[in-house]
């Protein structure tokens, strides 16, 4: 059987059949785009910025893909997409520019090589990442790829993986060097050895994004056989306690923040202890062979200085003797179909386990016999679009796709990346002296370009002169990576996009000189002593943007066709789901009531619409998906009326709907409106875990209510009066009534003023506690 990096679930084909029907319904205009979004994103299908154009994301567990599979993806990209395979920063591949009619062709085509886009997006277990050199690195603790592969197969076969509160990202590192960035992900495993036993140090609740948090150590050691148990326990706990109400604070990192270490760990342990001794749950691991697998082909000898330079730049030894791994730097992560074919022709002769995707949008080859390096070099030099002639620094630059395809993007980091490359290419800088430097760019505060772990990072923002917008970036620097020692890059300033190539040149020139002179012990030492100040000075030097009338180029982003505009920026694709669907019915109730009051439309139709929307609105919270009106009324009767979630006297009303008896509805107008009101009230009392307060009678109600209370915590120590009060008000404004807020205040003026001011606005101050030299104040929002 051919090698694969995961096994698709038995239900996949049936799910695809359903998705095909959903697409047809959407194309015919019978399905709301919001509802469709929830379905398609779960199949890894994202809408691009161009109308009706989609991107399909394909799972590659452990970053692995075989030449046979890559060839197929390239073929599909050529036939139905942009003719390129795109390598992402999350070790997977994407096909871009697919029109809706071809989406199923791509998805079905992937089945032929056992690849799948299921779970490429949505609130589920996303692609599981590993160190790209796992299994071949000379200094690794052990190979983690088999764990990622087995865990993927298990997780995607479990029903409860598909409707988590939010996405769930897992990474595994083969050593403490942490090249999989386990502390920047929801759940991270770092290979360690303890008393001769192989196992993992476990981190969790990290994440980048607009609110970055560094992960915490959850367990200092678990035996290697417990990977599944840990993941399962965290998944169950996240499912139970994660915040489903706000998609902006639903990742595991926010749960940690809300609960604090002690409670988080104890909730985790509760689940973990239930299953940890069950050996039947152990993963069935299969080794992924790293070794000599090549057929005998004639050796091609190359003798040139370019070849020698390439070898020093891009060829790395493996722990398996006689074999090497090779990095192929891709331009912006794109591999042309023709290039993929030529490469696969060669790689298929070298074996199945020869490709990994890395996190810098590049390809890594492995298990290539050293004697065939000349053959490979000849193949690579004939490719149309790679960066093998550039210093590794260039290929290591990471950028997200930006506003060209992403609906959230502000700036175009792809264009910026090209501009930096063009600027540095003609410069006198010795880029080979900074091979490992990480320069990362994101088009917006979300972290697809991983700017938080950059040595020098940029993320997009909007600048303004006289109300005219121009593309600009925030500048960050100084991340550290490593298990237990991860810190994120710190923002140092901002700069107009068009000055960044010069800025980068100026900055790197100084760093390269200092590095040569060995002035500092590390890059971060350089930053502390000199670099951060240099960044600030350069930001000041490159601050002033000429008015639009003087130099319009500053107002058009690199690679953009028109002036910067925010008109088309949308909301995040990935978090579509439940609440968007509830909102569809909520809005329908509102507009129909408005029509009713204005006397617009046929009264019985309008009333029917309200009755229907009220009945359907909350079904999704019970995991019920309805196909037609009658079913909606039936399910509402069963799950809401007979259970007394709404008053049981509505029974006859709902039956009228079920019987499609519209003509009598006007005589029940007031009760229909009351039902809509009750359903809305029920929704506003729903807690984060989709439970309704009145669900289980009075006694439970009390516990349920106390569970509902969310406590946000903010540290306003060091913030003077009155800014501490201003910031408190800003947080309160985002909270729901009766939610709790804990703030930390300095002694003196702050504690004397802020609680009083908060009370004057009608909120309750529940407690003021002095801790050391500061105060903890607990506030309940009015």
């Amino acid at each position: 059987m051919p090698l694969t990096f995961y096994k698709n679930s038995d239900t996949l084909i049936a799910e695809q059949d359903q998705f095909e029907k959903d697409i047809a319904e959407f194309v015919n205009g019978d399905m709301d785009p919001v509802k469709f979004k929830a379905f398609r994103v779960a199949h890894g299908v994202y809408e691009q910025r161009q109308l009706d154009t989609y991107m399909i994301r394909i799972r590659c567990a452990a970053g692995g893909i075989t030449p046979r599979q890559l060839r197929k993806v390239a073929e599909l990209a050529a036939k139905y997409g942009s003719n390129e395979v795109h390598f992402t920063t999350r070790q997977e591949v994407q096909v871009h520019d697919v029109v809706i009619e071809n989406v199923m062709n791509v998805i079905r085509g992937l089945n032929e090589v056992e690849l799948s886009s299921r779970g490429g997006g949505g609130n589920t277990i996303r692609n599981i990442l590993t160190s790209p050199d796992s299994g071949i690195a000379p200094n690794e603790t052990f190979d983690v790829d088999p764990y990622a592969v087995a865990l993927t197969t298990r997780m995607i076969s479990e029903d409860d993986s598909w409707n988590l509160p939010r996405k769930f990202k897992i990474a595994m590192s083969n050593s403490k060097e942490d090249t999989a960035y386990t502390q920047a992900t929801c759940l991270g495993f770092v290979a360690v050895e303890k008393d001769g036993q192989q196992g993992f140090e476990v981190y969790c609740a990290g994440g980048m994004g607009a609110k970055p948090m560094v992960g915490h150590q959850l367990l200092d050691f678990v035996p290697e056989s417990k990977v599944y148990h840990v993941t399962k326990a965290l998944k169950i706990m996240f499912d139970k306690h994660g915040n489903r109400r706000s998609k902006f604070s639903s990742r595991i990192k926010f749960l940690w923040k809300k609960l604090d270490r002690e409670e988080f760990v104890s909730l985790f342990r509760e689940e973990y202890d239930k299953i940890k001794d069950d050996e039947s749950l152990n993963l069935s691991l299969e080794t992924i062979p790293n070794g000599y697998q090549a057929a005998d082909i004639p050796v091609e000898v190359v003798d040139s200085s370019d070849y020698d330079l390439w070898k020093t730049r891009y060829v790395f030894p493996q722990k398996q003797e006689g074999l090497v791994s090779i990095k192929i730097p891709l331009q912006l992560g794109d591999l042309l179909r023709e290039d993929a074919d030529s490469l696969c022709d060669f790689l298929e002769k070298m074996g199945e386990n020869t490709i990994r995707c890395d996190r810098a949008q590049n390809m890594r080859l492995r298990n290539i016999p050293e004697k065939y390096l000349g053959n490979l070099y000849n193949v690579l030099s004939r490719l149309g679009m790679t960066l093998i002639d550039y210093a590794p620094f260039i290929g290591n630059m990471i950028n997200c796709t930006g506003a060209q395809t992403c609906k959230l993007g502000i700036c175009l980091p792809r264009g910026l990346s090209d501009a930096i490359r063009d600027r540095l290419e003609v410069s006198d800088l010795d880029l080979d002296s900074i091979t490992d430097f990480r320069l990362n760019m994101s088009g917006c505060p979300n972290t697809c370009g991983m700017h938080h772990i950059a040595n020098l990072g940029f993320f997009g923002k909007v600048g303004r002169v006289d109300g005219d917008m121009y593309p600009a970036y925030n500048v960050l620097a100084g991340a550290t990576t490593g298990a237990g020692t991860t810190t994120y890059a710190v923002r140092q300033g901002d700069i107009p996009a068009h000055f960044i190539p010069d800025f980068t040149y100026d900055f790197l020139k100084v760093w390269i000189e200092r590095k040569k002179d060995e002035t500092y012990e590390s890059y971060n030492h350089f930053l502390d002593e000199e670099g951060n100040v240099l960044i600030k000075e350069l930001c000041a030097k490159y601050k002033v943007v000429p008015a639009f009338s003087e130099d319009p180029k500053f107002y058009t982003d690199f690679g953009a066709k028109a002036r910067l505009s925010l008109d088309e920026i949308g909301t995040a694709e990935c978090s579509a789901g439940l609440f968007d669907m509830i909102d569809v019915d909520k809005k329908s109730i509102k507009t129909n009531i408005k029509a009713l009051n204005a006397g617009e439309g046929d009264e019985q139709d309008v009333l029917y619409n309200i009755l229907f929307a009220a009945s359907r609105m909350l079904l999704i919270t019970r995991g019920l998906d309805v196909k037609d009106d009658v079913q909606a009324f039936k399910l509402f009767q069963k799950h809401f009326v007979t259970t007394n979630l709404v008053d049981s006297s509505y029974e006859d009303l709902v039956r009228l709907g079920e019987d499609q008896n519209k003509t009598v509805l006007p005589t029940h107008k007031d009760r229909i409106l009351k039902l809509a009101e009750d359903v809305n009230a029920l929704y506003s009392n729903m807690d984060d875990s989709l439970r309704f307060k009145t669900e289980s009678g009075d006694v439970i109600e009390e516990t349920a209510a106390s569970e509902v209370i969310k406590v946000q915590e903010h540290d306003f120590r060091g913030v003077g009066c009155p800014m501490n009060f201003v910031k408190t008000k800003l947080v309160l404004a985002t909270m729901q009534s009766s939610e709790h807020l804990k703030i930390l205040l300095d002694d003196g003026e702050p504690i004397q003023n802020v609680p009083n001011s908060v009370q004057l606005e009608g909120h309750k101050v529940l407690s003021k506690t002095k801790v050391d030299a500061y105060w903890e104040v607990l506030i309940q929002k009015a």
């Binding site: 303004r464 002169v465 006289d466 109300g467 009155p722 800014m723 009060f725 201003v726 910031k727 008000k729 800003l730 309160l732 404004a733 985002t734 001011s757 004057l760 606005e761």
Partner: protein, 262 residues
Amino acid sequence: MNFTEDQVERYSRHIILQDVGVEGQQKICDAKVLIVGTGGLGAPAALYLAAAGVGTLGIIDGDVVDMTNLQRQVIHHTPDVGKPKVLSAKEKIAEINPDVKVNAIQDLLMAHNALDIIKDYDFIIDGTDNFPAKFLVNDACVMAEKPFSHGGILRFDGQTMTYVPGTASYRCVFKEPPPPNAVPTCSQAGVFGAIAGMLGTIQAAEALKYIIGKGDLLTNRLLIFDALKMNFRTVNVKPNPERLKIDKLVDFDQAVCDIKKD
């Protein structure tokens, strides 16, 4: 609510106010206000509305800055003489608060363009200096059901009232423009510069109160002051349904002496 750190600081004194707060400031930042005329009244109104962070300010004026304006039209400075007033104002607004989007229209508000210009705004400030324009602003706002603040100054006196649909309009108080030349203009009679500031800032405050939806507006009330005696009083006025029926806009005759001779 997506204030940047800079905005939180800039607007902190608003946010602290219970009646403004985070929500009110957000409303201000989302609001669109049109100021008709960037002279004595429009100048202070524009400055304060910009400082308050009104999201979009429309300014319309066909004039250029004249040396005689500088005594009271504080948004224009000596080097601006000869510059179109809307450009001069736009530059100052950007300096005060770069968050504000400015739509500068170098033109006169006339019967043919009035409805089209005001349609995009939430509130209109009448900062004009002549009766035909004041009645045009009134009529257009009543027709389009747009709230606006009327204001007028002469010598040491000022008067202002606020209209929102359903309340008394300027026309309910004053039926029609006086005959040309019956009432002297500022250029003939003179004006005490500081009262432009007094009245323009009252208008700005009314606009902001309307936006945040707090307090009592000067609706169905005409505020009159005499700065020489420093007396303020309000006169109650009533909506007159007949005078609230406007079906077309008219460009009334301008006083002869006000028409530019060049």
